[in-house]
């Protein structure tokens, strides 16, 4: 276990003050489900001397309806998965949160931690990008908003500055004409990191024609984002299974063009096609099995 000094700020302001003071030599601990592993392994912690524990800052643990849906970064995966409002207005996110790790991990792990850690396989990132979420970053004396897909710049890399803290995640509630799909592939049923996942949100008009679509794969692209080539295929159509598959193929093409053909491509290519097709069908509320 790494040796460090722990700070326990009592409120957000104290946390931001500490961050301003210690910047690069400090790390923020929320639920700790990722950070504790890194601290134990002493990996990537070369300059870390301080840990700022924000896990008790209740002011950051909210889930509330405002203009859209506002989720505090300290909302745990359990809270997100079980929240009636999230289930109703952003079911794709609740579904994703419910698949993370185990009850123990979900009770501790937070949505903010999942986002800030920015693992390629982070389960809540794809749905949040599909929901066009923005994140609020605060520092002592200032704050800014960034769209989530810009906030994350690569595997485990974000635009979060050393003195910044994520303090909010906001996105529009899904309207009544929106359907969603979330598919996840892992090696076993629980306690398994996603090999790949995909989040889909589809809005249709009263005739069933697709007005808008978000298709966001996880652990597929170097940084999370919508695959507009796939979305375009659906927009303006009443999609059938073949089209859903074509959209899946477009996601696979996007993967290969972004990352090249890697060791895992022979597997990931057919698998992401299938997952995307299924998530689209799920969003359209048609049988996908």
């Amino acid at each position: 276990m790494l040796e460090f000094d722990l700070f326990r700020p009592q409120n957000l302001q104290e946390a931001l003050d500490l961050l301003a003071e210690y910047k690069g030599s400090a790390r923020v601990m929320a639920g700790g489900t990722d950070l504790m592993i890194a601290l134990r392994a002493k990996k990537g912690m070369e300059n870390v001397k301080y840990i700022i524990d924000i896990s008790r800052l209740q002011e950051l643990a909210y889930i509330r309806e405002g203009e859209g849906l506002e989720i505090g970064p300290l909302a745990t995966m359990t809270q997100v998965a079980e929240s009636p409002v999230v289930r109703q207005c952003a079911g794709v996110l609740a579904a994703a949160a419910s698949t993370v790790g185990s009850p123990q991990i979900r009770n501790r792990g937070t949505i903010g931690g999942n986002v800030v850690n920015a693992a390629v396989c982070a389960d809540t990132v794809a749905p949040l990008v599909a929901l066009e979420a923005k994140v609020k970053l605060e520092r002592k004396g200032g704050s800014r908003w960034l769209p989530l897909d810009q906030f994350i710049t690569g595997p485990n890399r974000t635009q979060l500055a050393a003195d910044e803290l994520m303090t909010g995640i906001v996105f529009a509630k899904l309207p009544a004409n929106a359907g969603w799909g979330f598919m996840r592939l892992a090696r076993r049923e629980a306690l398994a990191i996603a090999r790949m996942n995909v989040a889909v949100v589809i809005k249709r008009d009263s005739q069933g024609k697709v007005e808008d679509a978000s298709i966001v794969p996880g652990a597929v692209l170097p940084r999370p984002g919508r695959v507009t080539e796939a979305e375009k295929l659906l927009i303006g159509t009443i999609p059938d299974g073949a089209l859903a598959r074509r959209a899946g193929e477009a996601v696979a093409e996007a993967m290969i063009s972004a990352a090249g053909r890697r060791w895992s491509t022979p597997y990931k290519e057919p698998a992401i096609i299938a997952l995307t097709e299924r998530a689209i069908k799920q969003a359209l509320e048609v049988e996908w099995r």
């Binding site: 000094d5 700790g32 489900t33 504790m36 009850p103 009770n107 629980a190």
Partner: protein
């Protein structure tokens, strides 16, 4: 390393401690308080042998710093029951042969308790979901599920 004061209520008993910044709740329980019923199997939140109930929620005590728990309530296997008055889950684990090597047993019991505290009449799928954060290498889990089912029936 900075030392920090912590007040913990463990199994109903209050402890005022001064702990190292990097001390895990698991180590505090096992080493400071001698509550060795909570086990360490992996140290990375995968096996669930260290599961305890923290302020009503099931957590891996290897993934929590003690200093994060100031003012918290912790329940461990030692607080579940006594030889004279076993908790229904403990009795069911004995009755249904749900114990083999016993190393996962405390974690399983705490996971089951956390589940039944919130959902006194779970379905089998809910039981499996509720216990899914604890690995067992001996039993194949069947007799554990049977035991939790039986205990839930009894409690209800």
């Amino acid at each position: 390393m900075k030392k920090l004061p912590v007040v913990l209520t463990v199994n109903g008993k209050e402890y005022s401690l001064t702990v190292e910044s990097n001390e895990r709740l698991l180590d505090t329980l096992r080493q400071r308080l001698g509550l060795t019923g909570t086990k360490e199997g992996c140290g990375v939140g995968e096996c669930g042998a260290c599961s305890v109930i923290l302020d009503g929620n099931l957590v891996n005590s290897c993934m929590v710093l003690t200093a994060q728990c100031d003012g918290s309530r912790v329940e461990t296997v030692e607080g579940l029951g006594t030889a004279e008055k076993l908790h229904p889950l403990q009795q069911a684990f004995i009755d249904y042969n749900a114990v083999q090597c016993g190393f996962c047993t405390p974690g399983m019991l705490m996971a089951a308790k956390a589940l039944l505290d919130k959902n006194p009449h779970p379905t089998e799928a809910e039981i499996r979901q509720g216990l899914s954060g604890v690995l067992c290498r001996c039993t194949g889990y069947k007799q554990i599920v049977d035991a939790v089912k039986a205990a839930a029936g009894e409690e209800g």
